[in-house]
């Protein structure tokens, strides 16, 4: 009984951590620009597929990972420079539609350059499950949890201790004031896309040994990540993390205790419920606007 619960919990936390990383990406771009970047899922795909591609070229795994992350960050920069920045003064809705277009383009391009097959990535440290209290967990799951914790701490330090991070926070609070204080807000926007791409790619690489990767992998992960971000209150990094874990764990518990048929529905029901009762998400603060 307890072993079963623990098993569902492991499964939920692993997936939830990935949702959290994807959700963080949504939150960071939203903070800098109020844009919901629907190409976030494609960053996940590029990370995984890129690593598979570079390993296929005969490169060692660590180097392949670094190159894949670099590639994705470059795509993130490119997306901002080529697609978003020229339309900077367009309404937010237009920008969001642009990111949807970009995601379709990136997916199509990846299918053309690579292929449509599923690819596996070797686990970072073996695939022999570790038994804890009657439940089993893969070493890769520990990598995912560990990496997520490291990334979250690093982000915390970045936003709290560095000039660049503080500039991003300032921009999210009030772009005009930030610009008046000498912050280069377009640079902040560029950085936010790069940072989101970095997070997405990391998620894609971490999950690939467990879930396989293919050019369509970003669609569902992107959507669940978006759920996580909304659940936590858009633009709240810590909210996105909590949101991801809540979505992941409730999915696993539903599949385990109620019916696997309702698993996907549950995530969306939770979001509907939360948004209905707390329109700003779990961690959102009531906004006040001065007129």
């Amino acid at each position: 009984m307890f072993a079963e619960l623990l098993q569902f919990l492991f499964s939920g936390i692993t997936v939830g951590a990935i949702y959290a990383l994807v959700g963080l990406g949504f939150a960071i771009i939203y903070n800098a620009s109020n844009v919901i970047n629907f190409a976030q899922g494609e960053f996940v795909m590029l990370g995984g597929m890129g690593t598979v591609f570079f390993i296929g070229l005969g490169l060692p795994m660590p180097l392949a990972i670094v190159l894949a992350v670099a590639l994705t960050v470059c795509v993130g920069f490119g997306l901002e420079k080529i697609a978003v920045e020229p339309a900077r003064n367009a309404p937010i809705v237009t920008l969001i539609i642009i990111t949807i277009g970009a995601s379709i383009f990136l997916r199509g391009a990846a299918q053309l350059v690579w292929d449509r097959n599923f690819h596996s990535l070797e686990s970072f440290s073996g695939s022999d499950p570790i038994m804890i209290g009657g439940a089993s967990i893969l070493p890769q799951s520990l990598w995912i949890l560990g990496s997520t914790v490291v990334i979250v701490i690093a982000l915390h330090l970045f936003f709290g201790r560095t000039m660049a991070g503080k500039a991003m926070i300032a921009t999210s609070h009030n772009p005009l004031a930030a610009r008046l204080m000498g912050i280069n807000t377009s640079m902040v926007l560029l950085m936010s896309f790069g940072l989101s791409a970095l997070l997405g790619a990391s998620a894609g690489i971490l999950i690939a040994p467990i879930s396989l990767t293919y050019t369509g992998v970003g669609i569902m992960l992107g959507l669940k990540g978006f759920c996580a971000a909304v659940l936590g209150g858009l633009g709240k990094p810590m909210g996105a993390i909590a949101g991801g874990l809540i979505v992941g764990i409730s999915e696993a518990m539903t599949a385990g205790y109620i019916s696997s048929a309702y698993k996907d529905a549950v995530a969306f029901v939770i979001i509907l419920g939360v948004l209905f009762l707390m329109p700003r998400g779990l961690f959102g603060v009531r906004g006040t606007e001065r007129v």
Binding site: S120, S211, V217, K263
Partner: protein, 386 residues
Amino acid sequence: MTSLFKRTGLAALVALTTVGLASSGAKAEDSIKIGSFLAVTGGASFLGDPEKKTLEMYVEKLNAEGGVLGRKLELIVYDSGGSPKKAVPFAKRLINDDKVDIILAGSTTGATMAVIPIVEKAGIPFISFGGAGVIINPVKKWVFKTPHTDTLAVQKIFTDMKSRSISKIGLLSGSGGFDKSCRKQVQTLAPGAGMTLVADETHGKGDTDMTAQITKIKNATGVQAMLYCGFGGATSIVAKNFKQLGAKIPHYQTHGSASKSFIKNADGGAEGVRLPAAALVVVDSLPASHPQKKVATAYKKMYESKTGGEISSFGGHAYDGLMIAVEAIIRAGSTDKAAVRAEIEKTNNFIGVDGIFTMSPTDHLGLDEASFVMVEVTNGDWKMLK
């Protein structure tokens, strides 16, 4: 990467020329026209792409050998993108404008079902490459198909389970069309085969982790084996999760998992999994005495040398369809549609890559359980079970 570009470019060129030739109408009247619409692009391109390549390379080969009945074969292929909506106008164009003699088409069940009323009305022989049994059950006068049905696969699995005295199974299935149809077959056929479903779990499209469902199946009371109905990458994830949970019960999957990538991507998890596979997929492991060994080996060699890609069972459906059609035309001695249809129906003991076809007025597929071989994954390869 470059070779991929080259291949797609080449394929597009070939398609253009075929269409161009067809519309010019300058082609000699005495060529035998074969019409086709396939999911060459889009989500089902993994079906349509090998099917198109197979049709093209064998039409070319037959023409090089002097054609059929002394006449050249002419192939007209349209890309339906797997969409039933697009398939309908293409079928009409093939019948009314291109005036084809026979239609070998329909990568998906959806596209096939959409055009059946049209071909039935026009009275033209149609061999489909769609998977589901509903295409030929109930029997339609002009419609035939070559791929195995999931009914056959499930029967084959149940037979193997019975030989191991398994009667209580836990079922896991995905949410794709193939998965759902397979699940329905399992539910329908189980009582008659003396099987009890003690668990019936599903997972969503694009799911990355099925440990919760498998834990439930593993812990279901009395469960003796797990059967997974699914397709594509999920097959490997299920196998991995199954291994991770240390489940000890026998693990079965369907012909949807019968590809080398299933074993490769499962990272060792596929070891011991049993599944029914078409002879073509496991051709290298077949004994020389197997009746399909020769045909399947020849097809594999031809396909791999011409395309450089790995064979899949899908291209095999097109090979069987084309060869059944050609033999029927030869037996009929003409391309008279009614005569060809009657001869297709009389296909007897035709050894194809999918199996040995014996059709009849009540069976427009003509395969039985024997067209599958039961295999077990052993040391990262297929091992045939007796």
